[in-house]
Protein backbone atom coordinates (compact mmCIF):
# COMPACT_ATOMS: atom_id res chain seq x y z
CA UNK A 1 0.00 0.00 0.00
CA UNK A 2 1.17 3.48 -0.82
CA UNK A 3 2.82 5.12 2.14
CA UNK A 4 5.17 7.93 3.00
CA UNK A 5 5.92 11.35 1.65
CA UNK A 6 8.35 12.01 -1.15
CA UNK A 7 9.78 15.51 -1.39
CA UNK A 8 11.47 16.76 -4.55
CA UNK A 9 14.64 18.77 -3.83
CA UNK A 10 15.29 21.01 -6.81
CA UNK A 11 18.73 22.21 -7.79
CA UNK A 12 20.07 24.20 -10.71
CA UNK A 13 23.59 23.19 -11.67
CA UNK A 14 24.11 21.67 -8.26
CA UNK A 15 22.77 24.59 -6.22
CA UNK A 16 19.65 23.92 -4.15
CA UNK A 17 17.16 26.79 -4.04
CA UNK A 18 15.62 28.03 -0.81
CA UNK A 19 12.23 26.80 -2.03
CA UNK A 20 13.53 23.22 -1.97
CA UNK A 21 14.01 23.46 1.78
CA UNK A 22 10.63 25.14 2.14
CA UNK A 23 9.23 22.02 0.45
CA UNK A 24 11.20 19.88 2.91
CA UNK A 25 9.59 21.85 5.77
CA UNK A 26 6.13 21.28 4.25
CA UNK A 27 6.81 17.56 3.82
CA UNK A 28 8.14 17.21 7.37
CA UNK A 29 5.07 18.90 8.80
CA UNK A 30 2.72 16.67 6.77
CA UNK A 31 4.79 13.64 7.72
CA UNK A 32 4.53 14.45 11.43
CA UNK A 33 0.79 15.04 11.26
CA UNK A 34 0.09 11.94 9.17
CA UNK A 35 2.59 9.77 11.04
CA UNK A 36 4.41 8.98 7.80
CA UNK A 37 8.09 8.95 6.92
CA UNK A 38 9.62 11.55 4.62
CA UNK A 39 12.01 10.67 1.82
CA UNK A 40 13.73 13.25 -0.38
CA UNK A 41 14.66 12.71 -4.00
CA UNK A 42 17.47 14.45 -5.87
CA UNK A 43 17.84 14.01 -9.63
CA UNK A 44 21.40 14.16 -10.88
CA UNK A 45 24.26 12.29 -12.49
CA UNK A 46 25.89 11.10 -9.27
CA UNK A 47 25.22 10.73 -5.56
CA UNK A 48 27.40 13.65 -4.41
CA UNK A 49 24.64 16.22 -4.47
CA UNK A 50 22.26 14.22 -2.31
CA UNK A 51 24.62 14.56 0.67
CA UNK A 52 23.63 18.18 1.21
CA UNK A 53 19.98 17.19 1.56
CA UNK A 54 20.85 14.26 3.84
CA UNK A 55 21.63 16.75 6.62
CA UNK A 56 17.87 17.21 7.09
CA UNK A 57 15.66 15.06 9.28
CA UNK A 58 14.58 12.56 6.62
CA UNK A 59 14.21 8.80 6.63
CA UNK A 60 16.46 8.67 3.54
CA UNK A 61 17.51 10.53 0.43
CA UNK A 62 17.14 8.85 -2.93
CA UNK A 63 19.68 9.95 -5.49
CA UNK A 64 18.10 9.14 -8.86
CA UNK A 65 20.88 9.04 -11.40
CA UNK A 66 21.26 9.08 -15.15
CA UNK A 67 23.71 10.92 -17.45
CA UNK A 68 20.68 12.55 -19.13
CA UNK A 69 19.92 14.35 -15.87
CA UNK A 70 23.02 16.55 -16.19
CA UNK A 71 20.77 19.41 -17.31
CA UNK A 72 17.08 20.05 -16.82
CA UNK A 73 14.63 18.92 -19.51
CA UNK A 74 10.97 18.08 -18.89
CA UNK A 75 11.31 14.76 -20.74
CA UNK A 76 14.25 13.49 -18.67
CA UNK A 77 12.93 14.78 -15.34
CA UNK A 78 9.47 13.29 -15.92
CA UNK A 79 10.87 9.89 -16.87
CA UNK A 80 13.20 9.83 -13.88
CA UNK A 81 10.58 10.99 -11.39
CA UNK A 82 8.03 8.52 -12.74
CA UNK A 83 10.50 5.69 -12.08
CA UNK A 84 11.16 6.93 -8.54
CA UNK A 85 7.47 7.40 -7.70
CA UNK A 86 6.52 3.98 -9.07
CA UNK A 87 9.29 2.31 -7.16
CA UNK A 88 8.77 4.09 -3.80
CA UNK A 89 4.96 4.17 -4.04
CA UNK A 90 4.49 7.27 -1.82
CA UNK A 91 1.11 8.59 -0.73
CA UNK A 92 2.17 12.22 -1.33
CA UNK A 93 4.71 13.84 -3.62
CA UNK A 94 5.59 17.35 -2.42
CA UNK A 95 7.40 19.87 -4.62
CA UNK A 96 8.15 23.62 -4.61
CA UNK A 97 6.06 25.64 -7.08
CA UNK A 98 9.03 26.91 -9.08
CA UNK A 99 9.24 27.57 -12.81
CA UNK A 100 11.15 24.30 -13.19
CA UNK A 101 8.55 22.25 -11.33
CA UNK A 102 5.70 23.96 -13.20
CA UNK A 103 7.39 22.77 -16.36
CA UNK A 104 7.43 19.03 -15.62
CA UNK A 105 5.17 18.23 -12.63
CA UNK A 106 1.87 18.30 -14.60
CA UNK A 107 3.45 15.93 -17.13
CA UNK A 108 4.50 13.64 -14.29
CA UNK A 109 1.05 13.70 -12.71
CA UNK A 110 -0.54 13.01 -16.10
CA UNK A 111 1.40 9.75 -16.23
CA UNK A 112 -0.71 8.81 -13.20
CA UNK A 113 -3.89 10.11 -14.90
CA UNK A 114 -4.27 13.08 -12.56
CA UNK A 115 -3.36 16.70 -12.02
CA UNK A 116 -1.20 18.50 -9.47
CA UNK A 117 -2.70 20.34 -6.50
CA UNK A 118 -0.62 23.33 -7.47
CA UNK A 119 0.69 26.44 -5.77
CA UNK A 120 -0.62 25.56 -2.27
CA UNK A 121 -0.16 27.97 0.61
CA UNK A 122 -1.10 25.62 3.47
CA UNK A 123 -1.92 22.02 4.24
CA UNK A 124 -3.79 20.69 7.24
CA UNK A 125 -4.58 17.19 8.37
CA UNK A 126 -7.86 16.07 9.89
CA UNK A 127 -8.85 12.46 10.41
CA UNK A 128 -5.97 11.31 8.23
CA UNK A 129 -7.15 13.41 5.27
CA UNK A 130 -5.16 16.35 3.97
CA UNK A 131 -6.84 19.61 3.03
CA UNK A 132 -4.73 21.85 0.84
CA UNK A 133 -5.34 25.59 0.64
CA UNK A 134 -4.63 27.33 -2.66
CA UNK A 135 -5.05 30.92 -3.70
CA UNK A 136 -7.34 31.49 -6.65
CA UNK A 137 -8.39 34.55 -8.65
CA UNK A 138 -4.89 36.03 -8.55
CA UNK A 139 -4.72 35.95 -4.77
CA UNK A 140 -8.14 37.40 -4.04
CA UNK A 141 -9.74 34.20 -2.70
CA UNK A 142 -8.55 31.07 -0.87
CA UNK A 143 -9.87 27.62 -1.70
CA UNK A 144 -9.76 24.49 0.45
CA UNK A 145 -9.05 21.55 -1.81
CA UNK A 146 -9.33 17.82 -1.19
CA UNK A 147 -8.36 14.96 -3.43
CA UNK A 148 -9.94 11.64 -4.13
CA UNK A 149 -8.95 8.45 -5.87
CA UNK A 150 -5.86 6.33 -5.45
CA UNK A 151 -2.56 7.79 -4.24
CA UNK A 152 -0.19 9.39 -4.95
CA UNK A 153 -1.27 13.00 -4.53
CA UNK A 154 1.06 15.48 -6.23
CA UNK A 155 1.18 18.90 -4.58
CA UNK A 156 3.34 21.98 -5.05
CA UNK A 157 3.83 24.75 -2.49
CA UNK A 158 4.11 28.44 -3.18
CA UNK A 159 7.38 30.18 -2.40
CA UNK A 160 7.17 31.54 1.14
CA UNK A 161 4.30 29.24 2.23
CA UNK A 162 6.76 27.57 4.58
CA UNK A 163 10.05 28.98 5.79
CA UNK A 164 13.22 27.16 4.85
CA UNK A 165 14.49 27.61 8.45
CA UNK A 166 11.54 25.48 9.56
CA UNK A 167 13.10 22.48 7.83
CA UNK A 168 14.44 20.30 10.65
CA UNK A 169 18.00 19.04 10.54
CA UNK A 170 18.61 15.43 11.52
CA UNK A 171 20.65 14.27 14.51
CA UNK A 172 22.79 12.35 12.08
CA UNK A 173 23.01 12.33 8.32
CA UNK A 174 20.18 10.51 6.54
CA UNK A 175 21.08 7.51 4.46
CA UNK A 176 21.67 8.23 0.78
CA UNK A 177 20.48 5.57 -1.63
CA UNK A 178 21.62 5.60 -5.23
CA UNK A 179 19.06 4.53 -7.78
CA UNK A 180 19.92 4.29 -11.45
CA UNK A 181 16.84 5.37 -13.37
CA UNK A 182 15.96 4.77 -16.99
CA UNK A 183 15.35 7.84 -19.10
CA UNK A 184 13.89 7.56 -22.59
CA UNK A 185 14.26 9.85 -25.56
CA UNK A 186 14.78 13.50 -24.65
CA UNK A 187 13.19 15.63 -27.37
CA UNK A 188 14.16 19.11 -26.24
CA UNK A 189 17.69 20.53 -26.24
CA UNK A 190 18.46 23.38 -23.83
CA UNK A 191 21.08 26.04 -24.50
CA UNK A 192 22.90 27.62 -21.53
CA UNK A 193 20.75 29.91 -19.37
CA UNK A 194 21.64 33.60 -19.59
CA UNK A 195 20.70 37.06 -18.31
CA UNK A 196 19.88 39.91 -20.65
CA UNK A 197 22.63 42.46 -21.10
CA UNK A 198 23.22 44.48 -17.94
CA UNK A 199 20.09 46.21 -16.85
CA UNK A 200 20.07 49.96 -17.30
CA UNK A 201 18.39 50.63 -13.97
CA UNK A 202 19.29 48.92 -10.74
CA UNK A 203 16.32 49.36 -8.44
CA UNK A 204 17.84 47.23 -5.70
CA UNK A 205 19.73 50.28 -4.41
CA UNK A 206 16.74 52.65 -4.38
CA UNK A 207 15.53 53.98 -0.99
CA UNK A 208 12.11 54.94 -2.29
CA UNK A 209 10.15 53.19 -5.03
CA UNK A 210 6.85 54.37 -6.45
CA UNK A 211 5.36 51.39 -8.26
CA UNK A 212 2.42 51.54 -10.58
CA UNK A 213 0.04 48.86 -11.83
CA UNK A 214 -2.78 48.43 -14.28
CA UNK A 215 -4.95 50.78 -12.24
CA UNK A 216 -3.14 53.67 -13.95
CA UNK A 217 -5.17 52.90 -17.10
CA UNK A 218 -3.00 54.56 -19.74
CA UNK A 219 0.59 55.45 -20.56
CA UNK A 220 -0.17 59.18 -20.48
CA UNK A 221 -1.19 58.91 -16.83
CA UNK A 222 2.31 57.77 -15.91
CA UNK A 223 3.30 61.46 -15.80
CA UNK A 224 1.34 61.75 -12.55
CA UNK A 225 3.33 58.93 -11.01
CA UNK A 226 6.60 60.42 -12.23
CA UNK A 227 5.74 63.68 -10.47
CA UNK A 228 5.15 61.85 -7.19
CA UNK A 229 8.39 59.89 -7.58
CA UNK A 230 10.26 63.13 -8.28
CA UNK A 231 8.76 64.83 -5.23
CA UNK A 232 9.86 61.91 -3.07
CA UNK A 233 13.25 61.67 -4.75
CA UNK A 234 12.43 58.05 -5.58
CA UNK A 235 12.46 55.69 -8.54
CA UNK A 236 9.49 54.61 -10.59
CA UNK A 237 8.75 50.89 -11.02
CA UNK A 238 5.84 48.78 -12.22
CA UNK A 239 3.92 45.54 -12.18
CA UNK A 240 4.22 43.22 -15.13
CA UNK A 241 1.23 44.33 -17.26
CA UNK A 242 2.69 47.86 -17.45
CA UNK A 243 5.96 46.51 -18.85
CA UNK A 244 4.13 43.96 -21.05
CA UNK A 245 2.27 46.84 -22.64
CA UNK A 246 5.56 48.63 -23.26
CA UNK A 247 4.63 51.64 -21.11
CA UNK A 248 7.78 51.20 -19.05
CA UNK A 249 10.92 49.19 -19.87
CA UNK A 250 11.20 45.68 -18.47
CA UNK A 251 14.05 46.64 -16.15
CA UNK A 252 11.50 48.56 -14.09
CA UNK A 253 9.42 45.43 -13.46
CA UNK A 254 9.20 44.20 -9.88
CA UNK A 255 8.44 40.56 -9.14
CA UNK A 256 9.35 36.95 -9.75
CA UNK A 257 10.35 37.62 -13.34
CA UNK A 258 11.64 41.12 -12.66
CA UNK A 259 13.73 42.71 -9.91
CA UNK A 260 13.56 41.90 -6.21
CA UNK A 261 13.77 45.03 -4.09
CA UNK A 262 13.59 46.02 -0.41
CA UNK A 263 13.56 49.85 -0.24
CA UNK A 264 12.75 51.89 2.86
CA UNK A 265 9.50 53.01 1.23
CA UNK A 266 7.48 51.16 -1.43
CA UNK A 267 4.31 52.80 -2.68
CA UNK A 268 2.04 50.51 -4.74
CA UNK A 269 -0.48 52.43 -6.83
CA UNK A 270 -3.25 50.46 -8.54
CA UNK A 271 -1.45 47.13 -8.06
CA UNK A 272 -3.62 44.19 -6.99
CA UNK A 273 -0.87 42.25 -5.22
CA UNK A 274 -0.55 38.95 -7.08
CA UNK A 275 2.02 36.63 -5.50
CA UNK A 276 4.41 37.07 -8.45
CA UNK A 277 4.52 40.77 -7.66
CA UNK A 278 4.67 40.38 -3.87
CA UNK A 279 7.75 38.15 -3.92
CA UNK A 280 9.65 41.03 -5.47
CA UNK A 281 8.85 43.69 -2.84
CA UNK A 282 7.42 42.18 0.34
CA UNK A 283 10.63 42.80 2.31
CA UNK A 284 10.40 46.57 1.88
CA UNK A 285 10.49 48.38 5.25
CA UNK A 286 7.38 50.51 4.82
CA UNK A 287 4.73 49.51 2.30
CA UNK A 288 1.92 51.81 1.16
CA UNK A 289 -0.95 50.59 -1.01
CA UNK A 290 -3.52 52.68 -2.85
CA UNK A 291 -6.31 50.65 -4.40
CA UNK A 292 -10.00 51.20 -5.00
CA UNK A 293 -10.77 47.57 -4.08
CA UNK A 294 -10.76 47.06 -0.27
CA UNK A 295 -10.25 43.31 -0.82
CA UNK A 296 -7.14 43.74 -2.98
CA UNK A 297 -4.47 41.31 -1.69
CA UNK A 298 -1.84 44.06 -1.69
CA UNK A 299 -3.41 45.39 1.52
CA UNK A 300 -2.41 42.17 3.24
CA UNK A 301 1.20 43.27 3.28
CA UNK A 302 0.71 47.04 3.48
CA UNK A 303 1.58 49.16 6.53
CA UNK A 304 -0.57 52.02 5.28
CA UNK A 305 -3.52 51.69 2.96
CA UNK A 306 -5.84 54.06 1.20
CA UNK A 307 -9.00 52.57 -0.27
CA UNK A 308 -9.80 54.93 -3.08
CA UNK A 309 -9.12 56.32 -6.51
CA UNK A 310 -5.42 56.76 -7.22
CA UNK A 311 -6.21 59.71 -9.48
CA UNK A 312 -7.48 61.57 -6.42
CA UNK A 313 -4.70 60.38 -4.13
CA UNK A 314 -1.60 61.03 -6.25
CA UNK A 315 -1.95 64.81 -6.85
CA UNK A 316 -2.72 65.52 -3.18
CA UNK A 317 0.07 63.28 -1.96
CA UNK A 318 2.52 64.91 -4.36
CA UNK A 319 1.62 68.38 -3.09
CA UNK A 320 1.79 67.34 0.57
CA UNK A 321 5.19 65.70 0.09
CA UNK A 322 6.50 68.84 -1.62
CA UNK A 323 5.28 70.95 1.31
CA UNK A 324 6.87 68.66 3.90
CA UNK A 325 10.14 68.51 2.06
CA UNK A 326 10.05 72.28 1.75
Amino acid sequence: MANGILVFAEHRDGVFGKTSFEAVAAAQQLGAELGQSVTAVVLSTDAGLAQEVAAYDLSRVVSAENPKLSEYTPDAYTDAMERVVRSLDPAYVIMPHTYLVRDFAPKLAARFARSVVSDCIRASVEGGAVTFARRIFLGKIDADVQTDGEPPVFATFQSGAYRSEQARRGASSAQVESMTVEVGEVRMKPEPAFQEVKQAVDLTKADTIVAVGRGIKSQENLALVEQLAAALGGDIAASRPICDAGWLPIDRQIGSSGQTVAPKLYIALGISGAIQHLVGMKNSSTIVAVNKDPEAPIFDIADYGIVGDLFEVIPVLTEEVKKLKG
Partner: protein
Amino acid sequence: MKIIVLMKQVANKDAILRINKEGNWIEEGDLTFEVNESDGYALEEALRTKEKHGGEVVVCSMGPQRVKSVIKDALARGADRAIHIVGDNLAHVGPYRAAQIIAEAIRPEQPDLIFTGLQSDDYGFAQTGVILAEILSLPHATIVIEVDASGEQLRVKRELENGWYQWYTMPRPALLTIQSGISQIRYASLKGIMAAKKKEIKEVQPAEASQAGAHQRINKIYFPQKTKQTQFLGDGNAKAGATQLAEKLRNEARVI
Protein backbone atom coordinates in the same frame (compact mmCIF):
# COMPACT_ATOMS: atom_id res chain seq x y z
CA MET B 1 1.56 25.57 -40.39
CA LYS B 2 -1.59 24.84 -38.42
CA ILE B 3 -1.68 26.42 -34.97
CA ILE B 4 -4.33 25.73 -32.36
CA VAL B 5 -4.72 28.34 -29.63
CA LEU B 6 -6.49 27.49 -26.38
CA MET B 7 -8.42 30.41 -24.99
CA LYS B 8 -10.32 30.41 -21.74
CA GLN B 9 -12.91 32.87 -20.56
CA VAL B 10 -12.47 34.07 -16.98
CA ALA B 11 -14.08 36.61 -14.66
CA ASN B 12 -13.18 40.18 -15.43
CA LYS B 13 -10.11 41.21 -13.43
CA ASP B 14 -11.84 44.28 -12.02
CA ALA B 15 -15.01 42.39 -11.06
CA ILE B 16 -16.05 42.48 -7.42
CA LEU B 17 -16.08 38.82 -6.46
CA ARG B 18 -18.75 37.40 -4.18
CA ILE B 19 -18.93 33.88 -2.80
CA ASN B 20 -21.91 31.74 -3.82
CA LYS B 21 -24.52 30.29 -1.44
CA GLU B 22 -22.89 26.87 -1.42
CA GLY B 23 -19.62 28.53 -0.48
CA ASN B 24 -17.67 26.57 -3.07
CA TRP B 25 -17.34 29.01 -5.97
CA ILE B 26 -18.00 32.62 -6.82
CA GLU B 27 -21.42 34.01 -7.68
CA GLU B 28 -21.35 34.10 -11.48
CA GLY B 29 -24.82 35.47 -12.19
CA ASP B 30 -23.92 39.13 -12.44
CA LEU B 31 -20.28 38.83 -13.44
CA THR B 32 -18.69 40.18 -16.56
CA PHE B 33 -16.14 37.97 -18.32
CA GLU B 34 -13.07 38.46 -20.45
CA VAL B 35 -10.36 36.39 -22.08
CA ASN B 36 -7.65 34.99 -19.81
CA GLU B 37 -4.72 37.40 -19.99
CA SER B 38 -1.94 35.11 -21.24
CA ASP B 39 -4.31 33.44 -23.75
CA GLY B 40 -4.65 36.79 -25.52
CA TYR B 41 -0.88 36.81 -25.95
CA ALA B 42 -0.97 33.18 -27.12
CA LEU B 43 -3.37 34.20 -29.89
CA GLU B 44 -1.22 37.19 -30.87
CA GLU B 45 1.87 35.00 -31.14
CA ALA B 46 -0.05 32.47 -33.25
CA LEU B 47 -1.24 35.22 -35.62
CA ARG B 48 2.32 36.55 -35.98
CA THR B 49 3.69 33.07 -36.62
CA LYS B 50 1.07 32.52 -39.31
CA GLU B 51 1.87 35.88 -40.90
CA LYS B 52 5.52 34.88 -41.13
CA HIS B 53 5.18 31.28 -42.22
CA GLY B 54 1.66 30.90 -43.59
CA GLY B 55 -0.95 28.43 -42.41
CA GLU B 56 -4.01 28.58 -40.27
CA VAL B 57 -4.92 29.65 -36.72
CA VAL B 58 -7.71 27.69 -35.04
CA VAL B 59 -9.06 28.90 -31.69
CA CYS B 60 -10.41 26.39 -29.20
CA SER B 61 -12.40 27.37 -26.14
CA MET B 62 -14.25 25.18 -23.68
CA GLY B 63 -17.18 26.38 -21.59
CA PRO B 64 -20.82 27.50 -21.71
CA GLN B 65 -22.35 29.55 -24.53
CA ARG B 66 -20.99 32.77 -23.07
CA VAL B 67 -17.45 31.83 -24.16
CA LYS B 68 -18.60 32.60 -27.72
CA SER B 69 -17.67 36.22 -27.01
CA VAL B 70 -14.02 35.19 -26.53
CA ILE B 71 -14.19 33.14 -29.74
CA LYS B 72 -15.77 35.93 -31.77
CA ASP B 73 -13.20 38.41 -30.57
CA ALA B 74 -10.38 36.03 -31.56
CA LEU B 75 -11.91 35.55 -35.02
CA ALA B 76 -12.17 39.32 -35.38
CA ARG B 77 -8.49 39.68 -34.56
CA GLY B 78 -7.60 37.27 -37.33
CA ALA B 79 -8.05 33.65 -36.26
CA ASP B 80 -9.38 31.57 -39.17
CA ARG B 81 -11.93 29.38 -37.44
CA ALA B 82 -12.88 28.03 -34.04
CA ILE B 83 -13.83 24.96 -32.07
CA HIS B 84 -16.19 25.49 -29.15
CA ILE B 85 -16.39 22.61 -26.68
CA VAL B 86 -19.79 23.28 -25.16
CA GLY B 87 -20.82 22.48 -21.63
CA ASP B 88 -21.98 24.33 -18.54
CA ASN B 89 -19.76 22.70 -15.95
CA LEU B 90 -16.64 22.25 -18.00
CA ALA B 91 -14.84 24.99 -16.12
CA HIS B 92 -14.85 22.86 -12.98
CA VAL B 93 -13.64 19.46 -14.18
CA GLY B 94 -10.04 20.05 -13.12
CA PRO B 95 -7.02 20.29 -15.38
CA TYR B 96 -6.58 16.58 -16.14
CA ARG B 97 -10.16 16.07 -17.35
CA ALA B 98 -10.05 19.42 -19.13
CA ALA B 99 -6.93 18.38 -21.02
CA GLN B 100 -8.48 15.00 -21.87
CA ILE B 101 -11.61 16.61 -23.28
CA ILE B 102 -9.61 19.20 -25.23
CA ALA B 103 -7.30 16.46 -26.55
CA GLU B 104 -10.27 14.54 -27.98
CA ALA B 105 -11.63 17.67 -29.63
CA ILE B 106 -8.39 18.75 -31.31
CA ARG B 107 -6.67 15.45 -32.06
CA PRO B 108 -8.30 15.09 -35.51
CA GLU B 109 -6.90 18.52 -36.45
CA GLN B 110 -3.30 17.28 -36.28
CA PRO B 111 -1.86 20.73 -35.55
CA ASP B 112 1.82 21.61 -36.01
CA LEU B 113 1.76 23.83 -32.95
CA ILE B 114 -0.52 24.28 -29.94
CA PHE B 115 -0.31 27.51 -27.95
CA THR B 116 -1.93 27.92 -24.54
CA GLY B 117 -1.71 30.60 -21.88
CA LEU B 118 0.71 29.87 -19.05
CA GLN B 119 -2.03 29.84 -16.44
CA SER B 120 -5.65 30.72 -15.93
CA ASP B 121 -6.44 33.81 -13.88
CA ASP B 122 -9.32 32.11 -12.02
CA TYR B 123 -8.19 28.61 -11.00
CA GLY B 124 -4.50 29.27 -11.65
CA PHE B 125 -3.65 25.59 -12.09
CA ALA B 126 -0.78 26.33 -14.48
CA GLN B 127 -0.98 22.86 -15.99
CA THR B 128 -3.72 22.25 -18.56
CA GLY B 129 -1.29 22.81 -21.45
CA VAL B 130 1.45 20.58 -20.10
CA ILE B 131 -0.99 17.75 -19.38
CA LEU B 132 -2.44 18.14 -22.87
CA ALA B 133 1.04 17.81 -24.36
CA GLU B 134 1.58 14.58 -22.44
CA ILE B 135 -1.78 13.16 -23.52
CA LEU B 136 -0.98 13.98 -27.15
CA SER B 137 2.65 12.75 -26.76
CA LEU B 138 4.03 16.16 -27.79
CA PRO B 139 7.17 17.88 -26.51
CA HIS B 140 6.42 21.14 -24.72
CA ALA B 141 7.95 24.27 -23.25
CA THR B 142 6.39 26.55 -20.64
CA ILE B 143 6.58 30.29 -19.91
CA VAL B 144 7.67 31.04 -23.46
CA ILE B 145 8.48 34.63 -24.38
CA GLU B 146 9.88 34.23 -27.91
CA VAL B 147 9.13 31.76 -30.69
CA ASP B 148 11.30 31.08 -33.72
CA ALA B 149 9.45 28.75 -36.08
CA SER B 150 11.60 29.46 -39.15
CA GLY B 151 13.83 26.38 -38.95
CA GLU B 152 13.03 22.72 -39.21
CA GLN B 153 13.25 22.58 -35.42
CA LEU B 154 11.31 24.93 -33.22
CA ARG B 155 13.43 27.29 -31.10
CA VAL B 156 11.83 28.99 -28.10
CA LYS B 157 13.01 31.34 -25.39
CA ARG B 158 11.78 30.47 -21.91
CA GLU B 159 11.63 32.79 -18.95
CA LEU B 160 13.32 31.48 -15.81
CA GLU B 161 13.20 33.14 -12.40
CA ASN B 162 14.90 36.43 -11.47
CA GLY B 163 15.65 37.72 -14.93
CA TRP B 164 17.22 34.55 -16.37
CA TYR B 165 16.31 33.09 -19.75
CA GLN B 166 17.03 29.95 -21.71
CA TRP B 167 16.56 28.81 -25.31
CA TYR B 168 15.25 25.34 -26.06
CA THR B 169 15.10 23.54 -29.39
CA MET B 170 12.57 20.82 -30.10
CA PRO B 171 10.86 19.06 -32.99
CA ARG B 172 7.38 19.92 -34.23
CA PRO B 173 4.55 19.27 -33.51
CA ALA B 174 4.92 20.81 -30.07
CA LEU B 175 2.94 22.63 -27.41
CA LEU B 176 3.99 25.97 -25.92
CA THR B 177 2.54 27.81 -22.93
CA ILE B 178 2.86 31.52 -23.65
CA GLN B 179 3.83 34.22 -21.14
CA SER B 180 2.15 37.64 -21.14
CA GLY B 181 4.10 40.37 -22.86
CA ILE B 182 5.54 38.17 -25.63
CA SER B 183 4.43 40.83 -28.12
CA GLN B 184 1.99 43.73 -28.31
CA ILE B 185 -1.58 42.60 -28.82
CA ARG B 186 -3.40 44.00 -31.86
CA TYR B 187 -6.91 45.39 -31.77
CA ALA B 188 -9.67 43.94 -33.91
CA SER B 189 -10.23 46.11 -36.99
CA LEU B 190 -13.68 46.93 -38.32
CA LYS B 191 -12.85 44.79 -41.34
CA GLY B 192 -11.82 41.96 -39.04
CA ILE B 193 -15.08 42.19 -37.12
CA MET B 194 -17.07 42.01 -40.36
CA ALA B 195 -15.00 39.11 -41.70
CA ALA B 196 -15.42 37.20 -38.44
CA LYS B 197 -19.14 36.87 -39.02
CA LYS B 198 -18.50 34.45 -41.88
CA LYS B 199 -15.94 32.30 -40.07
CA GLU B 200 -16.73 28.80 -38.91
CA ILE B 201 -17.36 28.02 -35.23
CA LYS B 202 -17.64 24.27 -34.81
CA GLU B 203 -19.48 23.17 -31.68
CA VAL B 204 -18.54 19.86 -30.12
CA GLN B 205 -20.04 18.14 -27.10
CA PRO B 206 -17.66 16.16 -24.92
CA ALA B 207 -18.59 12.50 -24.62
CA GLU B 208 -18.76 12.63 -20.87
CA ALA B 209 -18.44 15.84 -18.90
CA SER B 210 -18.99 14.63 -15.39
CA GLN B 211 -16.69 15.67 -12.59
CA ALA B 212 -15.68 12.05 -12.13
CA GLY B 213 -11.93 11.77 -12.31
CA ALA B 214 -11.47 15.40 -11.42
CA HIS B 215 -9.10 14.15 -8.69
CA GLN B 216 -9.11 17.47 -6.87
CA ARG B 217 -12.16 19.39 -5.81
CA ILE B 218 -12.87 22.57 -3.92
CA ASN B 219 -14.68 22.14 -0.61
CA LYS B 220 -15.01 25.76 0.19
CA ILE B 221 -13.73 29.17 -0.74
CA TYR B 222 -13.27 32.23 1.45
CA PHE B 223 -11.52 35.56 1.57
CA PRO B 224 -7.94 35.22 2.82
CA GLN B 225 -7.30 36.08 6.43
CA LYS B 226 -5.36 39.29 6.73
CA THR B 227 -2.13 38.74 8.57
CA LYS B 228 -0.88 42.29 8.74
CA GLN B 229 -2.40 45.20 10.64
CA THR B 230 -2.78 47.76 7.90
CA GLN B 231 -3.52 51.31 9.00
CA PHE B 232 -6.29 52.43 6.67
CA LEU B 233 -6.30 56.16 6.13
CA GLY B 234 -8.96 58.59 4.95
CA ASP B 235 -11.92 56.41 5.80
CA GLY B 236 -13.21 56.39 2.24
CA ASN B 237 -12.09 59.93 1.48
CA ALA B 238 -9.11 59.49 -0.84
CA LYS B 239 -7.88 63.07 -0.59
CA ALA B 240 -8.02 63.13 3.20
CA GLY B 241 -6.20 59.80 3.16
CA ALA B 242 -3.43 61.27 1.02
CA THR B 243 -2.92 64.18 3.44
CA GLN B 244 -2.79 61.84 6.44
CA LEU B 245 -0.44 59.52 4.60
CA ALA B 246 2.12 62.26 3.94
CA GLU B 247 2.06 63.16 7.63
CA LYS B 248 2.43 59.51 8.74
CA LEU B 249 5.29 58.86 6.35
CA ARG B 250 7.06 61.89 7.75
CA ASN B 251 6.43 61.55 11.48
CA GLU B 252 5.65 57.90 12.10
CA ALA B 253 7.52 55.88 9.49
CA ARG B 254 10.13 58.64 9.07
CA VAL B 255 10.75 57.82 5.45
CA ILE B 256 10.34 61.32 4.00
